[in-house]
Protein backbone atom coordinates (compact mmCIF):
# COMPACT_ATOMS: atom_id res chain seq x y z
CA UNK A 1 0.00 0.00 0.00
CA UNK A 2 1.46 3.34 -1.01
CA UNK A 3 -0.78 5.55 1.14
CA UNK A 4 -2.17 9.03 0.81
CA UNK A 5 0.20 11.41 -1.01
CA UNK A 6 -1.55 14.45 0.36
CA UNK A 7 -2.24 16.71 -2.59
CA UNK A 8 -6.05 16.39 -2.80
CA UNK A 9 -8.62 17.32 -0.20
CA UNK A 10 -10.53 14.31 1.04
CA UNK A 11 -14.31 14.72 1.54
CA UNK A 12 -15.60 13.47 4.87
CA UNK A 13 -17.50 10.20 4.84
CA UNK A 14 -16.82 6.95 3.04
CA UNK A 15 -14.79 6.92 -0.21
CA UNK A 16 -14.81 3.91 -2.48
CA UNK A 17 -12.65 3.69 -5.59
CA UNK A 18 -13.64 1.12 -8.22
CA UNK A 19 -13.15 0.21 -11.86
CA UNK A 20 -15.64 -1.57 -14.06
CA UNK A 21 -13.17 -4.07 -15.43
CA UNK A 22 -12.45 -5.38 -11.93
CA UNK A 23 -14.63 -8.47 -11.20
CA UNK A 24 -14.58 -7.77 -7.47
CA UNK A 25 -15.83 -4.22 -8.12
CA UNK A 26 -18.74 -5.52 -10.21
CA UNK A 27 -19.36 -8.16 -7.54
CA UNK A 28 -19.83 -5.45 -4.89
CA UNK A 29 -21.99 -3.20 -7.07
CA UNK A 30 -25.12 -4.12 -5.01
CA UNK A 31 -23.18 -3.27 -1.84
CA UNK A 32 -22.38 0.18 -3.22
CA UNK A 33 -26.10 0.64 -3.88
CA UNK A 34 -26.83 -0.29 -0.26
CA UNK A 35 -24.20 2.16 0.97
CA UNK A 36 -25.60 4.94 -1.24
CA UNK A 37 -29.02 4.39 0.25
CA UNK A 38 -27.72 4.27 3.81
CA UNK A 39 -25.09 7.00 3.73
CA UNK A 40 -26.51 9.42 1.14
CA UNK A 41 -24.13 12.32 0.55
CA UNK A 42 -21.56 10.78 2.86
CA UNK A 43 -20.73 8.18 0.23
CA UNK A 44 -18.27 9.17 -2.51
CA UNK A 45 -17.67 6.61 -5.23
CA UNK A 46 -14.85 7.20 -7.72
CA UNK A 47 -14.53 5.17 -10.88
CA UNK A 48 -11.24 4.78 -12.69
CA UNK A 49 -12.46 3.60 -16.09
CA UNK A 50 -16.17 4.26 -16.58
CA UNK A 51 -18.08 7.00 -14.75
CA UNK A 52 -21.40 5.26 -15.54
CA UNK A 53 -20.35 2.49 -13.16
CA UNK A 54 -21.77 1.61 -10.70
CA UNK A 55 -25.18 2.48 -12.10
CA UNK A 56 -26.93 2.23 -8.74
CA UNK A 57 -24.94 5.09 -7.21
CA UNK A 58 -26.01 8.66 -7.99
CA UNK A 59 -23.19 11.00 -9.02
CA UNK A 60 -20.28 8.64 -9.45
CA UNK A 61 -17.14 10.79 -9.49
CA UNK A 62 -15.16 10.53 -12.71
CA UNK A 63 -11.54 9.61 -11.91
CA UNK A 64 -10.60 8.37 -15.35
CA UNK A 65 -7.78 10.97 -15.16
CA UNK A 66 -6.63 9.03 -12.06
CA UNK A 67 -5.60 12.09 -10.08
CA UNK A 68 -7.56 11.16 -6.96
CA UNK A 69 -6.51 7.51 -7.23
CA UNK A 70 -2.87 8.53 -7.61
CA UNK A 71 -2.97 11.03 -4.76
CA UNK A 72 -4.59 8.38 -2.59
CA UNK A 73 -1.67 6.10 -3.41
CA UNK A 74 -3.95 3.23 -4.36
CA UNK A 75 -2.60 -0.14 -5.33
CA UNK A 76 -5.90 -2.05 -5.31
CA UNK A 77 -9.56 -1.63 -6.25
CA UNK A 78 -12.00 -1.67 -4.70
CA UNK A 79 -10.49 0.42 -1.91
CA UNK A 80 -12.75 1.78 0.80
CA UNK A 81 -11.54 4.70 2.91
CA UNK A 82 -13.23 6.36 5.86
CA UNK A 83 -12.47 10.06 6.29
CA UNK A 84 -13.28 12.37 9.16
CA UNK A 85 -12.31 16.04 9.26
CA UNK A 86 -10.22 15.54 6.14
CA UNK A 87 -8.16 12.77 7.74
CA UNK A 88 -8.05 9.17 6.59
CA UNK A 89 -9.04 6.89 9.46
CA UNK A 90 -9.48 3.47 7.85
CA UNK A 91 -8.55 1.87 4.54
CA UNK A 92 -9.78 -1.48 3.24
CA UNK A 93 -8.64 -3.21 0.06
CA UNK A 94 -10.77 -5.80 -1.72
CA UNK A 95 -14.09 -7.04 -0.33
CA UNK A 96 -14.40 -8.42 3.18
CA UNK A 97 -17.95 -8.18 4.48
CA UNK A 98 -17.29 -7.84 8.19
CA UNK A 99 -14.63 -5.14 7.69
CA UNK A 100 -16.80 -3.15 5.28
CA UNK A 101 -19.68 -3.34 7.79
CA UNK A 102 -17.44 -2.30 10.65
CA UNK A 103 -15.91 0.67 8.84
CA UNK A 104 -19.14 1.95 7.23
CA UNK A 105 -21.37 1.20 10.18
CA UNK A 106 -23.91 -0.31 7.76
CA UNK A 107 -25.13 -3.82 8.58
CA UNK A 108 -26.08 -6.75 6.32
CA UNK A 109 -24.02 -5.67 3.35
CA UNK A 110 -24.11 -7.84 0.23
CA UNK A 111 -26.40 -10.65 1.27
CA UNK A 112 -25.64 -13.65 -0.88
CA UNK A 113 -22.13 -12.48 -1.73
CA UNK A 114 -19.08 -14.44 -0.65
CA UNK A 115 -17.47 -13.29 2.58
CA UNK A 116 -14.24 -12.30 0.90
CA UNK A 117 -12.82 -11.50 -2.51
CA UNK A 118 -9.40 -9.94 -3.15
CA UNK A 119 -9.36 -6.84 -5.30
CA UNK A 120 -7.63 -6.10 -8.58
CA UNK A 121 -4.73 -3.78 -9.33
CA UNK A 122 -5.55 -0.08 -9.35
CA UNK A 123 -5.08 1.47 -12.80
CA UNK A 124 -2.55 3.80 -11.22
CA UNK A 125 -0.09 0.92 -10.83
CA UNK A 126 -0.44 -0.37 -14.38
CA UNK A 127 3.19 -0.54 -15.53
CA UNK A 128 2.39 1.22 -18.79
CA UNK A 129 1.00 4.35 -17.13
CA UNK A 130 2.46 4.46 -13.61
CA UNK A 131 5.49 6.51 -14.73
CA UNK A 132 3.35 8.85 -16.80
CA UNK A 133 1.13 9.54 -13.78
CA UNK A 134 4.11 10.22 -11.55
CA UNK A 135 5.38 12.78 -14.05
CA UNK A 136 1.93 14.32 -14.48
CA UNK A 137 1.24 14.75 -10.77
CA UNK A 138 4.68 15.03 -9.22
CA UNK A 139 7.23 16.32 -11.71
CA UNK A 140 6.51 19.89 -10.66
CA UNK A 141 8.26 19.11 -7.36
CA UNK A 142 11.56 18.60 -9.19
CA UNK A 143 13.77 21.66 -9.31
CA UNK A 144 16.45 20.66 -11.80
CA UNK A 145 16.62 22.52 -15.06
CA UNK A 146 14.74 20.76 -17.86
CA UNK A 147 16.78 20.12 -20.97
CA UNK A 148 14.76 19.48 -24.08
CA UNK A 149 16.55 17.23 -26.51
CA UNK A 150 16.34 18.16 -30.16
CA UNK A 151 14.31 15.87 -32.40
CA UNK A 152 17.35 14.59 -34.26
CA UNK A 153 19.50 14.28 -31.15
CA UNK A 154 20.35 10.77 -29.99
CA UNK A 155 19.64 10.75 -26.25
CA UNK A 156 22.78 8.76 -25.43
CA UNK A 157 25.00 10.96 -27.57
CA UNK A 158 23.37 14.03 -26.03
CA UNK A 159 24.84 13.12 -22.63
CA UNK A 160 28.31 12.73 -24.11
CA UNK A 161 27.98 15.99 -26.01
CA UNK A 162 27.12 17.86 -22.82
CA UNK A 163 30.06 16.42 -20.87
CA UNK A 164 27.91 14.47 -18.39
CA UNK A 165 29.51 11.06 -18.68
CA UNK A 166 32.59 9.32 -17.37
CA UNK A 167 33.31 7.99 -20.83
CA UNK A 168 30.69 5.25 -20.71
CA UNK A 169 27.06 5.69 -21.77
CA UNK A 170 24.63 6.88 -19.11
CA UNK A 171 20.93 6.27 -18.62
CA UNK A 172 19.07 9.45 -19.73
CA UNK A 173 17.73 11.10 -16.55
CA UNK A 174 14.10 11.61 -17.53
CA UNK A 175 11.58 13.00 -15.07
CA UNK A 176 9.95 9.58 -14.73
CA UNK A 177 13.23 7.84 -13.95
CA UNK A 178 14.29 10.48 -11.43
CA UNK A 179 10.90 10.34 -9.68
CA UNK A 180 11.19 6.56 -9.52
CA UNK A 181 14.72 6.88 -8.10
CA UNK A 182 13.45 9.26 -5.41
CA UNK A 183 11.02 6.56 -4.24
CA UNK A 184 14.15 4.85 -2.88
CA UNK A 185 14.55 7.35 -0.05
CA UNK A 186 12.29 8.98 2.50
CA UNK A 187 14.41 12.12 2.34
CA UNK A 188 12.95 15.21 0.71
CA UNK A 189 14.20 15.89 -2.84
CA UNK A 190 15.25 19.41 -1.88
CA UNK A 191 17.26 18.36 1.18
CA UNK A 192 20.91 19.32 0.80
CA UNK A 193 23.11 16.25 1.21
CA UNK A 194 26.53 17.84 0.97
CA UNK A 195 28.58 20.64 -0.49
CA UNK A 196 30.42 18.98 -3.35
CA UNK A 197 33.95 19.94 -4.34
CA UNK A 198 35.71 21.22 -6.29
CA UNK A 199 33.11 23.88 -7.15
CA UNK A 200 31.59 23.67 -3.64
CA UNK A 201 28.04 23.26 -4.90
CA UNK A 202 25.17 22.40 -2.57
CA UNK A 203 23.90 19.03 -3.78
CA UNK A 204 20.30 18.04 -3.09
CA UNK A 205 18.85 14.56 -2.84
CA UNK A 206 17.28 15.26 -6.24
CA UNK A 207 20.65 15.95 -7.88
CA UNK A 208 22.03 12.76 -6.36
CA UNK A 209 19.01 10.94 -7.79
CA UNK A 210 19.58 12.42 -11.26
CA UNK A 211 23.16 11.18 -11.27
CA UNK A 212 22.18 7.84 -9.74
CA UNK A 213 19.77 7.33 -12.63
CA UNK A 214 22.56 8.11 -15.07
CA UNK A 215 24.90 5.67 -13.30
CA UNK A 216 22.32 2.89 -13.65
CA UNK A 217 21.27 2.59 -10.00
CA UNK A 218 18.02 1.08 -8.81
CA UNK A 219 16.00 3.21 -6.36
CA UNK A 220 16.94 1.04 -3.40
CA UNK A 221 20.60 1.90 -3.93
CA UNK A 222 19.97 5.63 -3.49
CA UNK A 223 20.40 5.75 0.32
CA UNK A 224 23.83 4.12 -0.08
CA UNK A 225 24.85 6.68 -2.70
CA UNK A 226 23.64 9.49 -0.45
CA UNK A 227 25.62 8.16 2.52
CA UNK A 228 28.70 7.75 0.34
CA UNK A 229 28.40 11.35 -0.83
CA UNK A 230 28.00 12.57 2.74
CA UNK A 231 31.18 10.72 3.67
CA UNK A 232 33.07 11.98 0.61
CA UNK A 233 32.28 15.63 1.26
CA UNK A 234 33.78 15.82 4.73
CA UNK A 235 36.95 17.66 5.59
CA UNK A 236 38.45 14.39 6.86
CA UNK A 237 37.90 12.54 3.59
CA UNK A 238 38.93 15.54 1.51
CA UNK A 239 37.33 14.70 -1.83
CA UNK A 240 38.76 17.91 -3.29
CA UNK A 241 42.35 16.90 -2.73
CA UNK A 242 41.64 13.33 -3.74
CA UNK A 243 40.28 14.58 -7.04
CA UNK A 244 43.08 17.05 -7.61
CA UNK A 245 46.01 14.80 -6.83
CA UNK A 246 48.41 13.54 -9.45
CA UNK A 247 48.26 10.16 -7.62
CA UNK A 248 46.12 7.25 -8.86
CA UNK A 249 43.47 7.37 -6.19
CA UNK A 250 39.72 7.83 -6.16
CA UNK A 251 36.92 7.16 -3.67
CA UNK A 252 36.31 3.49 -2.84
CA UNK A 253 33.15 2.57 -0.94
CA UNK A 254 32.95 -0.42 1.41
CA UNK A 255 29.37 -1.26 2.41
CA UNK A 256 28.56 -3.02 5.68
CA UNK A 257 25.39 -4.17 7.37
CA UNK A 258 22.01 -5.48 6.25
CA UNK A 259 21.62 -3.04 3.37
CA UNK A 260 24.34 -4.84 1.39
CA UNK A 261 22.55 -8.20 0.96
CA UNK A 262 19.17 -6.43 0.85
CA UNK A 263 20.10 -4.60 -2.34
CA UNK A 264 22.01 -7.54 -3.80
CA UNK A 265 25.57 -6.30 -3.38
CA UNK A 266 28.45 -8.63 -4.06
CA UNK A 267 30.88 -9.45 -1.26
CA UNK A 268 31.93 -12.82 -2.63
CA UNK A 269 33.33 -14.13 -5.87
CA UNK A 270 34.81 -11.27 -7.93
CA UNK A 271 33.76 -8.79 -5.22
CA UNK A 272 36.17 -6.14 -6.47
CA UNK A 273 35.37 -6.85 -10.11
CA UNK A 274 32.64 -6.30 -12.64
CA UNK A 275 29.22 -7.82 -13.06
CA UNK A 276 27.16 -6.77 -10.03
CA UNK A 277 24.80 -3.89 -10.65
CA UNK A 278 24.77 -2.47 -7.12
CA UNK A 279 28.54 -2.58 -6.70
CA UNK A 280 29.06 -1.10 -10.15
CA UNK A 281 26.51 1.67 -10.11
CA UNK A 282 26.81 2.95 -6.53
CA UNK A 283 30.49 3.71 -6.97
CA UNK A 284 29.80 5.19 -10.38
CA UNK A 285 26.99 7.40 -9.09
CA UNK A 286 29.32 8.92 -6.50
CA UNK A 287 31.86 9.71 -9.19
CA UNK A 288 29.20 11.20 -11.48
CA UNK A 289 28.01 13.52 -8.68
CA UNK A 290 31.57 14.73 -8.17
CA UNK A 291 31.93 15.19 -11.93
CA UNK A 292 28.60 16.79 -12.72
CA UNK A 293 27.55 18.59 -9.55
CA UNK A 294 31.01 19.31 -8.16
CA UNK A 295 32.53 20.04 -11.55
CA UNK A 296 35.52 17.75 -11.02
CA UNK A 297 36.79 16.45 -14.34
CA UNK A 298 40.01 14.94 -15.63
CA UNK A 299 42.16 17.64 -17.10
CA UNK A 300 40.33 20.22 -15.00
CA UNK A 301 40.82 19.88 -11.27
CA UNK A 302 41.55 16.14 -11.65
CA UNK A 303 45.29 16.09 -12.40
CA UNK A 304 45.98 12.35 -12.12
CA UNK A 305 49.17 11.34 -13.87
CA UNK A 306 47.85 7.89 -14.77
CA UNK A 307 44.63 7.36 -12.83
CA UNK A 308 43.26 3.85 -12.52
CA UNK A 309 40.12 1.99 -13.64
CA UNK A 310 38.63 2.15 -10.13
CA UNK A 311 37.94 5.82 -10.82
CA UNK A 312 34.98 4.73 -12.95
CA UNK A 313 33.54 2.93 -9.96
CA UNK A 314 34.94 1.21 -6.88
CA UNK A 315 32.45 -0.22 -4.43
CA UNK A 316 31.95 -3.58 -2.74
CA UNK A 317 30.40 -5.11 0.34
CA UNK A 318 32.26 -6.82 3.17
CA UNK A 319 31.53 -10.53 3.54
CA UNK A 320 30.44 -10.35 7.16
CA UNK A 321 28.89 -13.81 7.47
CA UNK A 322 32.03 -15.58 6.32
CA UNK A 323 34.45 -13.32 8.15
CA UNK A 324 36.66 -14.51 10.99
CA UNK A 325 36.40 -11.02 12.43
CA UNK A 326 34.03 -8.24 13.39
CA UNK A 327 32.85 -6.10 10.45
CA UNK A 328 34.72 -2.95 9.53
CA UNK A 329 31.72 -0.86 10.61
CA UNK A 330 31.79 -2.35 14.11
CA UNK A 331 35.53 -1.81 14.35
CA UNK A 332 34.85 1.80 13.44
CA UNK A 333 32.34 2.27 16.25
CA UNK A 334 28.93 1.44 14.79
CA UNK A 335 26.63 -1.07 16.52
CA UNK A 336 26.39 -4.51 14.89
CA UNK A 337 23.60 -4.61 12.36
CA UNK A 338 24.04 -0.99 11.31
CA UNK A 339 24.24 -0.33 7.59
CA UNK A 340 27.19 1.88 6.76
CA UNK A 341 29.39 3.08 3.95
CA UNK A 342 33.09 3.57 4.57
CA UNK A 343 35.00 5.63 2.04
CA UNK A 344 38.68 5.05 1.42
CA UNK A 345 40.98 7.02 -0.88
CA UNK A 346 41.98 4.09 -3.04
CA UNK A 347 44.76 3.67 -5.52
CA UNK A 348 44.88 0.43 -7.44
CA UNK A 349 44.41 -3.19 -6.40
CA UNK A 350 47.58 -5.16 -5.84
CA UNK A 351 47.12 -8.91 -5.56
CA UNK A 352 49.05 -11.08 -3.14
CA UNK A 353 49.26 -14.86 -3.55
CA UNK A 354 50.40 -17.08 -0.70
CA UNK A 355 49.33 -20.65 -1.35
CA UNK A 356 51.63 -22.38 1.08
CA UNK A 357 51.30 -20.59 4.42
CA UNK A 358 49.17 -22.56 6.86
CA UNK A 359 50.22 -20.70 9.97
CA UNK A 360 49.15 -17.16 10.74
CA UNK A 361 52.73 -16.16 11.46
CA UNK A 362 53.87 -17.14 7.97
CA UNK A 363 50.88 -15.60 6.26
CA UNK A 364 51.26 -12.36 8.20
CA UNK A 365 54.85 -12.13 6.99
CA UNK A 366 53.67 -12.52 3.39
CA UNK A 367 51.06 -9.83 3.84
CA UNK A 368 53.58 -7.52 5.50
CA UNK A 369 56.10 -7.99 2.70
CA UNK A 370 53.51 -6.95 0.16
CA UNK A 371 52.07 -4.12 2.25
CA UNK A 372 55.53 -2.62 2.47
CA UNK A 373 55.39 -1.82 -1.25
CA UNK A 374 52.47 0.60 -0.87
CA UNK A 375 53.47 3.98 -2.36
CA UNK A 376 57.13 2.98 -2.28
CA UNK A 377 58.95 0.28 -0.26
CA UNK A 378 61.20 2.94 1.27
CA UNK A 379 58.52 5.51 2.14
CA UNK A 380 56.54 5.11 5.35
CA UNK A 381 53.70 6.65 7.38
CA UNK A 382 52.50 8.99 4.65
CA UNK A 383 50.12 6.57 2.89
CA UNK A 384 47.26 4.37 4.13
CA UNK A 385 46.26 0.95 2.81
CA UNK A 386 43.26 -1.36 2.82
CA UNK A 387 43.87 -5.09 3.12
CA UNK A 388 41.08 -7.27 1.72
CA UNK A 389 41.51 -10.76 3.16
CA UNK A 390 39.86 -13.50 1.14
CA UNK A 391 38.13 -16.56 2.67
CA UNK A 392 41.04 -19.00 2.25
CA UNK A 393 43.49 -16.61 3.90
CA UNK A 394 40.87 -15.70 6.50
CA UNK A 395 40.52 -19.38 7.39
CA UNK A 396 44.20 -19.57 8.35
CA UNK A 397 43.69 -16.80 10.89
CA UNK A 398 40.36 -18.17 12.12
CA UNK A 399 41.70 -21.67 12.73
CA UNK A 400 44.63 -20.23 14.68
CA UNK A 401 42.32 -18.00 16.73
CA UNK A 402 43.85 -14.76 15.58
CA UNK A 403 41.63 -11.75 16.10
CA UNK A 404 41.79 -8.81 13.75
CA UNK A 405 43.55 -6.86 16.50
CA UNK A 406 46.15 -9.61 16.76
CA UNK A 407 46.78 -9.56 13.02
CA UNK A 408 47.07 -5.80 13.08
CA UNK A 409 49.53 -5.94 15.96
CA UNK A 410 51.66 -8.55 14.18
CA UNK A 411 51.64 -6.54 10.97
CA UNK A 412 52.62 -3.42 12.86
CA UNK A 413 55.61 -5.23 14.32
CA UNK A 414 56.60 -6.73 10.96
CA UNK A 415 56.24 -3.36 9.30
CA UNK A 416 58.32 -1.39 11.77
CA UNK A 417 61.38 -0.75 9.67
CA UNK A 418 64.89 0.42 10.55
CA UNK A 419 65.62 3.84 9.14
CA UNK A 420 68.90 2.63 7.71
CA UNK A 421 66.90 0.63 5.14
CA UNK A 422 64.67 3.57 4.32
CA UNK A 423 66.87 6.61 3.92
CA UNK A 424 67.64 8.16 0.59
CA UNK A 425 70.34 6.23 -1.18
CA UNK A 426 69.86 3.02 0.84
CA UNK A 427 69.72 -0.04 -1.40
CA UNK A 428 71.09 2.03 -4.24
CA UNK A 429 67.75 3.84 -4.56
CA UNK A 430 67.66 7.62 -4.40
CA UNK A 431 64.06 7.71 -3.20
CA UNK A 432 63.53 7.24 0.50
CA UNK A 433 63.06 8.89 3.86
CA UNK A 434 65.11 11.92 4.85
CA UNK A 435 68.55 11.27 6.31
CA UNK A 436 67.38 12.41 9.76
CA UNK A 437 65.48 9.10 10.13
CA UNK A 438 68.56 6.91 9.65
CA UNK A 439 68.76 5.76 13.26
CA UNK A 440 64.99 5.61 13.85
CA UNK A 441 62.60 2.71 13.59
CA UNK A 442 59.51 3.77 11.66
CA UNK A 443 56.07 2.19 11.21
CA UNK A 444 54.93 1.65 7.62
CA UNK A 445 51.44 2.92 8.45
CA UNK A 446 50.20 5.63 10.76
CA UNK A 447 47.97 4.57 13.62
CA UNK A 448 44.59 3.80 12.02
CA UNK A 449 46.12 3.83 8.55
CA UNK A 450 45.48 0.17 7.73
CA UNK A 451 41.92 -1.02 7.08
CA UNK A 452 41.30 -4.77 7.18
CA UNK A 453 38.14 -6.25 5.63
CA UNK A 454 36.99 -9.67 4.49
CA UNK A 455 35.61 -10.39 1.00
CA UNK A 456 36.03 -12.64 -1.98
CA UNK A 457 35.24 -16.02 -3.48
CA UNK A 458 35.79 -19.25 -1.59
CA UNK A 459 38.65 -20.51 -3.76
CA UNK A 460 42.04 -18.86 -3.91
CA UNK A 461 44.80 -18.21 -1.37
CA UNK A 462 44.90 -14.57 -2.40
CA UNK A 463 44.37 -11.27 -0.70
CA UNK A 464 44.19 -7.78 -2.11
CA UNK A 465 46.17 -4.78 -1.04
CA UNK A 466 44.59 -1.51 -2.01
CA UNK A 467 46.98 1.36 -1.69
CA UNK A 468 45.72 4.58 -0.24
CA UNK A 469 46.72 8.17 -0.66
CA UNK A 470 48.33 10.87 1.48
CA UNK A 471 47.04 9.86 4.88
CA UNK A 472 45.17 11.40 7.76
CA UNK A 473 45.20 15.14 8.34
CA UNK A 474 47.80 15.52 5.60
CA UNK A 475 45.42 14.17 2.95
CA UNK A 476 42.51 11.81 3.49
CA UNK A 477 41.26 9.67 6.35
CA UNK A 478 38.65 6.93 5.91
CA UNK A 479 35.16 8.17 6.80
CA UNK A 480 32.14 6.02 7.72
CA UNK A 481 28.51 7.14 7.50
CA UNK A 482 25.34 5.31 8.40
CA UNK A 483 22.98 4.49 5.53
CA UNK A 484 19.64 6.11 6.31
CA UNK A 485 16.64 5.14 4.22
Amino acid sequence: MLGYRGAVELPDGVLVVVKRECPTCTLVEPVLGQLAAALGDDLHVYCQDDPSFPSNVPQVIDDTGLEVSWQLGLTTVPTLIRVEHGKELDRLEGWLRKDWEAVTGVADLGPGLPEYRPGCGSRTVDPDIADELAVRFKASTLRSRRIRLADLEDEMEAAFDRGWTDGLPVVPPTEARVLRMLEGTSRAPDEVVAVVPPDLVECTVEKVAVNAVMAGCRPEYLPVVVAALEAACTDDFNAHGLLATTWFSGPMAIVNGPVAPAIGMNSGLNALGQGNRANATIGRALQLVIRNVGGGKPGGVDRATLGQPGKYTFCFAEDEDGSPWEPLSVERGFPPGTSTVTLFAAGGVHGLADQLSRTPESLARSLAASLRSVFHPKLVIGFDACLVVSPEHGRVFREAGWTKARLRQELNELLTIDGVELVRGAGGISEGMAEQFRSASLPKFRDGGLLIVHAGGKAGFFSAIISGWASGALGSAPVTREVVG
Partner: protein, 92 residues
Protein backbone atom coordinates in the same frame (compact mmCIF):
# COMPACT_ATOMS: atom_id res chain seq x y z
CA UNK B 1 8.21 13.00 -29.42
CA UNK B 2 9.52 15.59 -27.01
CA UNK B 3 12.22 14.20 -24.79
CA UNK B 4 13.14 16.02 -21.63
CA UNK B 5 15.98 15.16 -19.29
CA UNK B 6 17.00 16.76 -16.02
CA UNK B 7 20.24 18.69 -15.80
CA UNK B 8 22.66 16.60 -13.68
CA UNK B 9 25.06 19.47 -13.09
CA UNK B 10 25.33 22.06 -10.35
CA UNK B 11 23.70 24.55 -12.76
CA UNK B 12 26.27 27.14 -11.84
CA UNK B 13 26.37 30.55 -13.42
CA UNK B 14 29.69 31.80 -12.11
CA UNK B 15 29.98 35.57 -12.17
CA UNK B 16 32.48 36.83 -14.72
CA UNK B 17 35.34 38.60 -13.03
CA UNK B 18 38.00 40.58 -14.77
CA UNK B 19 41.60 40.11 -13.77
CA UNK B 20 43.22 42.98 -11.92
CA UNK B 21 45.71 44.90 -13.99
CA UNK B 22 49.27 43.70 -13.73
CA UNK B 23 51.42 46.17 -11.79
CA UNK B 24 53.81 48.11 -14.01
CA UNK B 25 56.45 47.91 -11.29
CA UNK B 26 56.95 46.01 -8.05
CA UNK B 27 58.38 49.08 -6.32
CA UNK B 28 56.43 49.78 -3.13
CA UNK B 29 54.52 46.54 -3.58
CA UNK B 30 54.39 43.63 -1.12
CA UNK B 31 55.02 40.26 -2.72
CA UNK B 32 53.49 37.19 -1.10
CA UNK B 33 55.22 33.85 -1.57
CA UNK B 34 52.82 30.97 -0.96
CA UNK B 35 54.31 27.56 -0.31
CA UNK B 36 51.69 24.86 -0.83
CA UNK B 37 54.03 22.56 1.18
CA UNK B 38 54.79 20.11 -1.58
CA UNK B 39 58.28 18.66 -1.37
CA UNK B 40 61.02 21.14 -2.35
CA UNK B 41 58.62 24.00 -2.97
CA UNK B 42 60.50 25.77 -0.19
CA UNK B 43 63.78 25.40 -2.12
CA UNK B 44 62.27 27.24 -5.05
CA UNK B 45 60.69 29.95 -2.90
CA UNK B 46 63.86 30.48 -0.84
CA UNK B 47 65.78 31.21 -4.03
CA UNK B 48 63.06 33.48 -5.27
CA UNK B 49 62.89 35.35 -1.97
CA UNK B 50 66.64 36.00 -2.03
CA UNK B 51 66.43 37.45 -5.53
CA UNK B 52 63.41 39.60 -4.78
CA UNK B 53 64.85 40.95 -1.55
CA UNK B 54 68.16 41.68 -3.32
CA UNK B 55 66.22 44.01 -5.60
CA UNK B 56 64.83 45.82 -2.59
CA UNK B 57 61.31 44.48 -2.76
CA UNK B 58 59.18 43.55 0.25
CA UNK B 59 58.40 39.84 0.61
CA UNK B 60 56.04 37.99 2.93
CA UNK B 61 56.06 34.19 3.24
CA UNK B 62 52.97 32.02 3.61
CA UNK B 63 52.38 28.28 3.67
CA UNK B 64 49.31 26.09 3.36
CA UNK B 65 48.87 23.54 6.18
CA UNK B 66 48.75 20.75 3.58
CA UNK B 67 49.08 20.71 -0.18
CA UNK B 68 46.12 18.33 -0.47
CA UNK B 69 43.49 20.87 0.58
CA UNK B 70 42.58 24.35 -0.64
CA UNK B 71 44.15 27.18 1.32
CA UNK B 72 42.06 28.01 4.40
CA UNK B 73 39.90 31.12 4.09
CA UNK B 74 41.85 32.93 6.82
CA UNK B 75 45.09 32.42 4.93
CA UNK B 76 43.57 33.64 1.68
CA UNK B 77 42.17 36.66 3.50
CA UNK B 78 45.53 37.46 5.07
CA UNK B 79 47.34 37.22 1.74
CA UNK B 80 44.80 39.38 -0.05
CA UNK B 81 44.89 42.11 2.60
CA UNK B 82 48.64 42.24 3.12
CA UNK B 83 50.04 41.63 -0.35
CA UNK B 84 49.78 43.29 -3.74
CA UNK B 85 50.91 40.27 -5.73
CA UNK B 86 51.41 36.62 -4.86
CA UNK B 87 53.63 33.88 -6.26
CA UNK B 88 52.60 30.30 -5.59
CA UNK B 89 54.98 27.34 -5.71
CA UNK B 90 52.87 24.52 -7.04
CA UNK B 91 54.96 21.58 -8.12
CA UNK B 92 57.24 18.98 -6.56
Amino acid sequence: MTRIVLDPTGELNPPARTLVDRPRSLDDKTIGLLDITKARGDVFLNQLEQRLVARGWRVRRFAKPTFTKPAPIDLRQEISTTCDVVIEALAD
